[in-house]
Amino acid sequence: MPQDRVRNFSIIAHIDHGKSTLADRILELTETVSGREMREQVLDSMELERERGITIKAQAVRVNWKGHQLNLIDTPGHVDFTYEVSRSLQACEGAVLVVDAAQGVEAQTVANAYLAIENDLELLPVLNKIDLPQANPDAVAMEVAELIGDDPENVRRISAKTGEGVADVLDAIIERFPAPSGNVEAPARALVFDSSYDQYRGVVAFVRVVDGSFRPRERLRAMAQGTRFEAEELGFFAPTMAPAESLEAGEVGYVITGLKDVSRLRVGDTLTVEARAAAEPVPGYKDVKPMVFAGLFPTDSDDYPELRDALDKLKLNDAALVYEPETSQALGFGFRCGFLGLLHMEIVRERLEREFDLDLLVTAPNVAYIATTKSGEVLEVHSPADMPDEIERVEEPYIKASVIVPKEYVGAVMELCNERRGRFDHMEYLSEERVVLIYELPLAEIVLDYYDQLKSRTRGYASFDYDLAGYREGELVRVDVLIAGEPVDALSLVVHRDSAYARGRALVDRLREEIPRQFFDVPIQAAIGSRIIARETVKAKRKDVLAKCYGGDITRKRKLLEKQKAGKKRMKQVGAVEVPQEAFLAVLNLDEAKR
């Protein structure tokens, strides 16, 4: 297909604003999927694809409209995957910005719109759900126009649900979005904007051919990582896999690589053909590094091999997931895992529990610190327990957060951000009613419960997004917890010096409630280095006997003691002290009032 008849685009939207429904309508309207085949949300439904025996999720679908080839490129839906989103956008020339006509502009709308503008994409603003009674298209059109610097008249009004206005959107895509402008004769270059793993075919790369052309059975090379492989098959999704004889400059499709591990072909890398090798890769490749870390331990230590296998399997499909074995004296054998962010952590945890049926204990998440020791050594620290004692300086990751709220909640959001060491950057009115607040915050301050707090203090009205904003030095200290004099690695925290006392106190109080009384007094201490900052004692039990035990009570009594004995086996042993597993989660939900 000549490039001037090709259009590559994404649909970007805040969650639930109707991205998937619009994609479905487009597939239907272009007869890519027949009405009978049509199922709700074809692009988004992994379950459905599994039912049909397709394990490769379509990241890009080719449709035909009025003699043009349109490639609809899917973007990951969340903040943690900003880099992946930006690569997907880089594969496009335009983006349809979908905004719910009732909800208005939300944090992800803003983040995605800015990302699209940064990638020089042409934006086509669309108001969705205009059929809803609570829709307020005039006001929302103003917000959208304000956001992207366009005329409210240019904001199209559609209902993806009923199909109203969708054909106009397709026409506008052809009319307004530029055609690709690659050099068909130049050495081959293709941007990898996503990849997935299929157990039979290995890694499948989703690519946008920038220059030249690709054909099956050619030797290819990933330019940043240096990985070499043969293109076993090329093609596109329509919406199922359709092999093709070539992929030409400007086109979007897939390459079956036969590679056995997604980490060997990272998103953002550039593929070239060895025989017609390009000199320069497509710019913008980044090695994405995990920012949030947590320990994952099986509740039952016998499940360790299952956890390892499950992580190995997830890793095949999730290049951003990193993990290394970790041994905690309190929790036994497990893994320290690195995630792109909180949602990524949640997704991994949920998949481990649901798909692999594992019972997990997840320690409080922490961020990656950069510590410089007194001897000048620079370390990346992934676990509070690993923070060296003698430090010259510590740097921690910061984020730039944008929070969108109705104006009456501005005070509540500011209060929360100030409590979390936030630095106010600026504030803008999106409309008369709604405000976007931009703050810089240490990532460490949002990994615990910032999002929950934000939601509860704004009655659920706030939407939130963030971008990493580099490392900065912080007045950080490591707070250790000692139970009966033994430091407990899994309970160490790195906190700002100013809040160390309050956090140590709160943690010690929580632990006193969580640790049952034992045969002896159990002191619980919080310490910075050798200085004790808080102390509590779980007093020894004085009495633990059931008074009455005669002929009719024996079975009940025996079963009670057997149950107690079994309960002890589930406790974690810290020195001579039995600590219930729940106690290790104490650090996760320290009473807000005590912070």
Partner: protein, 374 residues
Amino acid sequence: MSGARHLYVHLPFCAYRCGYCDFVTLVGRRGQHAAYTDAVLAELELERPLLAGELDTVFLGGGTPTFLEAQSLARLLDVLPAAEELTIEANPETITPELARCLRLHGVTRVSLGAQSFQPHLLEVLERRATPDAVRRAFYHLRDASFDNISLDLIYGIPGQSAADLERDLEAAIALEPEHLSLYELEAKPGTRFTHAHGAELSRQAEAMEHYLERVVHVLRSAGYRWYETANFCLEPGRAGGRDLRSRHNLAYWQGRDYLGLGIGAVSTIADRRWRNAPRLRPYLDALAAGRRPPREVEPLPPDVRVRERALLGLRLDLPLALGSVDSALDHDALARMQALALVERRGENGSGTIALTERGRFLGDAVAAELIA
């Protein structure tokens, strides 16, 4: 197997039900006392092959055995096999001089009197009808009928009971010079109306009452009683003309012996089986009237379970437990830990040695036992 030497008979009838009670009891039902007695005797006949030729102990428990209509009670006592120790449980308000004489006449050797408390306000919380003086009168009626082995039941840890209340109760009990005392901490069993009314108060005062058992042990020992089982005390032989006043029937439970139980809700343990008669009266009466065994719930007791029980129960006593008899039921790492914490004392060599709880270990007996079992 030469047969069980211990017989328990459950007599469920009561004049009323006390709030804290979770035993199998039936209020009133005067008209059914004779039929119930017939049924118990019929069950005895069915199970007689399980009993030894001579019994060591018979225990009539309840309910309120002394509430059983007099003719039925006399008939029961006459027909039950003879035993060296024949105990009956009694409520103070049921003991008249006539009943006391009648019990003595029909071979009862020991009476366990449910005093519970001598403080009117605590008796009220427990919903007991007897006044403190009624308890004393009942005690003297028994003495007058020449009973020389009387046990008093007391309850402590009653909602609102102060440390001084406890001292007064112990003092009042000691003043009567009973041969035996059982001290029960009040258990608020889930589902009783007592727990409904007082559960919150009980959990509030739990910590304040934590030392009550220590106090009980101290006071009773000072008065010459032996703390021979977690909840039981008897006069030292030196103060009782050399008699061993421990409850022989209950010792049989704690030493893991076989026993046969008759009546609704009664439990039997013989060889590798334990069974509990269903607690409902009508099916019990109907089955036995038809010459059948009553409905039961049977629990198999493999040898390892009986050994474990012997260990758990034996640790309640003040006598050392021979390791050889319970060794296979013990977690030896835990045993070493408990020794290191001075909760268990071990004497003698492996195999032939003994273990016993230390003084502090006895106050923590359940927690220690839970550690020790394998």
